[in-house]
């Protein structure tokens, strides 16, 4: 680390994260392989997905070693997407409801 320029970290941390990503991917594949359904499937898939995303951003993309100014500039706007997600879900529910009423006989 002496006179280090840019991001320099021991190779071990990359290999460990690589292994961890393999384990998490296998786990999410097994969720499908063993036919987990309902909320359990939903929960497991989202948890594995967010863990993998977090590991890639934090370690591979070096975000955990960056200054807060950069971290916040990238991460905080991303959280705004939750609003779009909510709007999409509301709109989809409404569309499904009207389609069920007017287009699908006997669904409701």
């Amino acid at each position: 680390m002496a006179h280090a320029q840019g991001q320099q970290h021991p190779i071990g941390i990359y290999l460990k994260i690589w292994g961890l990503l393999f384990v998490l991917s296998t786990a999410s594949y097994l969720v499908d392989y063993f036919h987990f359904q309902g909320y359990l499937r939903w929960f497991l898939i989202v948890v594995f997905m967010l863990l993998k995303a977090g590991l890639i951003v934090a370690v591979f993309m070096h975000m955990m070693w960056e200054r807060l100014a950069l971290m916040y500039a990238i991460v905080v706007p991303t959280l705004l997407l939750m609003v779009l997600l909510g709007i999409g879900a509301l709109e989809a529910d409404y569309t499904f409801f009207t389609r069920s009423v007017f287009f699908v006989k006997g669904l409701l």
Binding site: I45, M49, R67
Partner: protein, 240 residues
């Protein structure tokens, strides 16, 4: 990193007048992202905008899937392959996932060896990353042709809801394009490393800035982002 990195923008610039002065004053007064090379900060900003593009695709996919009254085709069966006389669900997608994650691993190590000025290892790891990326695109082409052969179109398919095809081709197509562009740039950066462009600080095309091993890290950011997007596509499109 607490130590400030010296850049070529520290000495005061002569003040401009008129409209140019307005632009100069607004843009040169303060440097927000300290300790980060300019190119890396800009790559992060680009990736943020790309995040919004992919999120728009994935959220609209969610919206059409939630609102359709026709049953959604089961991805587990649609993407199953018959290997050794046995039908294995999603196996191709799982292999593609492992390939892309491995390419991210080799990329991270290429960045590390780049900062150590280890030309040979950086070049080899960049080439391995590019090869894994090309393999991924090849498998995606195989998957596309398989689905097209089975009658999946952007406007309909024999398995169920018509929106399946449009969401599939749009999302995986945009992601595959990103991977293909990444492979091309990985090869370009690898050649620059091997030629010693970065050791001799030769400027690249389209820029007057001196070449340095920081571009390997900037390239890495893009490549990890492609992997990151695939994590979301894998979970939300294939496993849902």
């Amino acid at each position: 990193m607490t130590q400030a990195i010296s850049t070529d923008t520290v000495e005061p610039l002569p003040l401009a007048e008129g409209v140019q002065g307005i632009v100069a004053d607004w843009s040169s007064d303060q440097r927000a992202f300290k300790n980060v090379p300019w190119g890396k900060a800009m790559m992060w900003i680009f990736l943020l905008s790309d995040t919004f593009i992919f999120s728009s695709f994935l959220i609209s996919y969610m919206t059409v899937r939630m609102s359709t009254t026709v049953p959604w085709p089961n991805p587990s069966e649609v993407f199953a392959l018959t290997l050794f006389g046995k039908s294995i669900p999603l196996i191709l997608i799982a292999i593609m996932t492992f390939i892309l994650i491995s390419s991210s691993g080799t990329m991270a190590m290429a960045v590390k060896f780049g900062y150590e000025k280890n030309k040979r290892m950086t070049f080899v790891l960049l080439l391995i990353t590019a090869a894994l990326g090309a393999t991924f695109v090849g498998m995606q082409a195989f998957e596309w042709s398989k689905l097209i052969h089975e009658g999946v179109r952007p406007w309909g398919n024999p398995m169920g809801a018509a929106q399946f095809g449009s969401a599939f081709f749009m999302i995986t197509g945009f992601h595959g394009t990103h991977v293909s562009i990444g492979v091309i740039f990985l090869v370009i950066v690898a050649i620059k490393v091997l030629r010693g462009d970065l050791d001799h600080q030769r400027p690249g095309f389209l820029t007057g800035r001196k070449g340095s091993y920081e571009i390997v890290e900037t390239m890495g950011l893009y490549w990890h982002f492609v992997d990151l997007v695939w994590v979301f596509i894998f979970a939300l499109f294939y496993l849902w």
